[in-house]
């Protein structure tokens, strides 16, 4: 392999993006065509590169900042996945955004995002990584902001949250570079101890925020309403998780050696467990298709963080496998949401119902995805979750319990969602609803097929993609594919699933409709108040922070006004006086200029020969 081939997946989409922006006016369809071509090329090259290793370096900013990219087993399959989802997004957007005015810019930013994401995955220099990281932030801002009318608010929210975390990451990079004496990632291997712990945590914040874990999640549900659908389908579900979790895993396995049982590991696991539970509880009560999915997009990160946080080979593989699976079924789920929105005109669950008969293929795909995300055997979600359970139980039963509870609520919420949208009595206004068009349906079906494939034949992804990434020796003979060896785990899962089913039946019977299946939890004594406040975003750290900043800025503003007056009066008048003084010296007579020069010469002579 020619090492510079490695740069193609980065520069091809970036070039396509630049071209799209240039051509947007002249050639309306350029976006879709160029994006498809570029992502197809990217996919082909990534597939060719898969399994290979190599380094490509370009001279860059000088001062030792080189453009170093490195392909290794760890990021090869992530690059492949990024390319695959970029391709799917382009394919899907080509159909769903056809003729819309935002299309050219969407494709432009999409290509930039794809390039930046690919760059972030293969970068082998922390500063380069940061460069792509920030680039991705910028292009995501563009993608969100072009949505609905008020989408810029969400975009700013995202920008602030992720941007602040990127600042943390920047500090982390500086500290890491100082500790390791190098910024080249493949030469950094540090233990998590002393000050390094802080650096590790700062870097981890960058990864967690990109992946959308709590407490950096709060923009995602709003994006679900505001951002264009193809963005929602692939970014929070797939691309961002791929990049963020990849970095987190790389960080804790490769850059730093995270010790199992250390407090940092426990912290990560706690973040994971809390994310799983809180987000899924919020998902349970949502009355909107897309918003419900968006909370799941947060909740599922919890499993990945939990898996990686265990710092055991099984857990990390479980986390990464779950990331892959989640990318598949979560984007699939958003695709079904998109199809429902397009065909039925709304995603409000209160207005939906009985679509299963009108859109049987969509419904079938939804069922597959629902089963996958709930972790029903033999779908893919089951296997990755089992690995995470296994690793979590090895650390402490609390984490296992949280994960299983999460599983229970996930299943419950999807039962509710499916029941409300696709089953039950059909609404009269949906009489003319048809099955979604093929270009939209096809990606969903392909992804559904992959879900089944990765479930039934889970040895394929685990042995082909994940084991080489972690390294065979780290596994030390662990059995990581197929049905779990520990039947207790399977039993636990099955009990949780059965409980979810029973709970659903109870809820339906109690409220009389699929939509109300979770009402008894929603309005349970003690919980309902909490839920109300959560709905009012009382727990959103972003809101607290902005409120705090608001107060702070008001105080500073008051102080500033005084200082400002000082500056306005003193500095401006000082500058004016000085300026007038220097100008007065310029009297217009050349004799004066000669005199000045001679005086300068005399002073210089005195200085040199004093």
């Amino acid at each position: 392999m020619n090492p510079s081939t490695l740069l193609i997946p980065v520069f091809l989409p970036l070039a396509a993006g630049a071209l799209i922006f240039l051509l947007a006016k002249a050639w309306k369809g350029s976006g879709a065509v160029l994006s498809l071509a570029a992502t197809a090329g990217m996919l082909a090259v990534s597939a060719l590169l898969f399994g290979k290793e190599g380094t490509a370096a370009l001279p860059w900013a000088g001062f030792g900042l080189d453009f170093v990219c490195r392909l290794m087993p760890f990021n090869g399959f992530i690059l492949l996945a990024v390319s695959f989802f970029a391709f799917c997004t382009a394919l899907y957007a080509a159909s769903s955004l056809k003729g819309k005015s935002i299309a050219p810019h969407f494709f432009g930013f999409l290509m930039l995002s794809a390039g930046f994401a690919a760059g972030a995955v293969i970068a082998d220099h922390l500063v380069l990584l940061l460069f792509f990281w920030e680039g991705l932030l910028g292009s995501m801002y563009g993608l969100i902001a072009m949505g609905r009318k008020d989408a810029w608010r969400t975009a700013i929210k995202m920008f602030v949250i992720v941007g602040v975390s990127d600042l943390c990451m920047m500090a982390g990079i500086a500290m890491t570079g100082h500790a390791a004496g190098s910024l080249v990632m493949s030469s950094i291997h540090l233990p998590v101890e002393g000050l390094n712990t802080l650096a590790f945590l700062l870097l981890a914040i960058g990864g967690l925020a990109k992946a959308g874990s709590m407490p950096f999640h709060s923009w995602i549900p709003f994006a679900a309403e505001d951002a264009p659908l193809p963005f929602m389908a692939f970014f929070p579900g797939a691309l961002e998780k791929l990049v963020g979790i990849y970095f987190l895993a790389r960080l804790s396995l490769d850059l730093y050696g995270l010790q199992a049982g250390s407090w940092v590991s426990l912290l990560l696991m706690t973040v994971g467990a809390v994310t799983i539970l809180l987000a899924v509880l919020m998902a349970l009560i949502q009355k909107d298709y897309k918003k419900l999915l968006s909370y799941h997009a947060i909740s599922q990160v919890g499993y990945m963080v939990l898996g990686i946080g265990t710092a055991s080979a099984v857990g990390v593989i479980g986390g990464l496998f779950h990331m892959l699976n989640n990318a598949l079924y979560k984007s699939g789920l958003f695709l079904t949401a998109g199809m429902v929105e397009k065909q039925a005109g709304t995603t409000d669950l209160r207005k939906l119902g009985g679509l299963g008969k009108r859109m049987p293929l969509t419904a079938a795909a939804f069922v597959v995805f629902g089963l996958s995300i709930s972790g029903v055997p033999p779908f893919n979600g089951f296997f990755s979750k089992e690995l995470v359970y296994d690793a979590a139980l090895e650390r402490h039963w609390v984490f296992y319990l949280a994960a299983v509870l999460g599983s229970f609520f996930t299943a419950a919420s999807f039962l509710k969602l499916g029941h409300a949208a696709f089953f039950g009595p059909a609404k009269p206004e949906h009489r003319d609803v048809r099955e979604a068009p093929w270009p939209m349906l096809l990606p969903a079906l392909v992804i559904a097929g992959l879900c089944v494939l990765f479930g039934v034949y889970n040895t394929l992804p685990v042995h082909r993609f994940l084991a080489p990434a972690v390294g065979e020796e780290a596994l030390a003979g662990h059995h990581v594919s197929g049905m779990p060896a520990n039947w207790m785990l399977v039993a636990g899962t099955l009990i949780a699933l059965a409980a979810a089913l029973l709970n659903h039946r109870y809820g339906v019977k109690r409220s009389g409709a699929g939509l109300g299946a979770a009402d008894h939890i929603h309005h349970a004594p003690g919980l309902s108040g909490v839920y109300d406040r959560a709905e009012r975003q009382a727990f959103d750290p972003y809101n607290h922070w902005t409120a705090f900043v608001g107060v702070l800025s008001r105080i500073l503003n008051a102080a500033d006004r005084g200082v400002n007056a000082l500056f306005d009066v003193v500095s401006v008048s000082a500058a004016k006086t000085l300026s007038a003084g220097t100008r007065r010296l310029q009297s217009g007579a050349y004799t004066a200029y000669v005199l000045w020069s001679m005086a300068g010469l005399a002073a210089a002579a005195w200085w040199m020969f004093r």
Binding site: L595, M598, A602, A605, F609
Partner: protein, 160 residues
Amino acid sequence: MTVDLILLGLLVLAALWAVLSVRLMMSVIGLAAVSVAVSLLMFRLDAPYAAMFELSVCAGLISVIFFVAISFTKRLTAEDIRTHRKERLRKTVWLPFLLAGLAILLVARLKSPGFAPAPDPGGDVRTLLWGGRHLDLIGQIVTLLAGAFGVVVLFKEKNR
């Protein structure tokens, strides 16, 4: 030696003549006298070629340039004489002489080297100028060309 003494005295006198004379024409003649004195001093300092150039070009050509310039502005002479009479004793009079004094003191303080007359010069100016300093010659040619353009551009009547 007497000749040198006379020459130096002549030089200083001519300079004073150029600076202090109230008539512009006399100033120019003083300048020409300075040139002649410098030229003769150059002969005494074993620099005959430079001396010849100085004599022909500076004492000759440049004086002509000044005469031409003065003839253009002839009718201003009376006014100029009046002002120059006043100006000769401006407040800044001391400054150049202070600087000159400083320079002389400086050179003296740098322990006057008491140069002995150097041995007979090894090289010939013609060999050096035509053999070693081609680049200077090119520079001269270019400067002369620039001067020619200057004449063309600046001496033209302004077209209104």
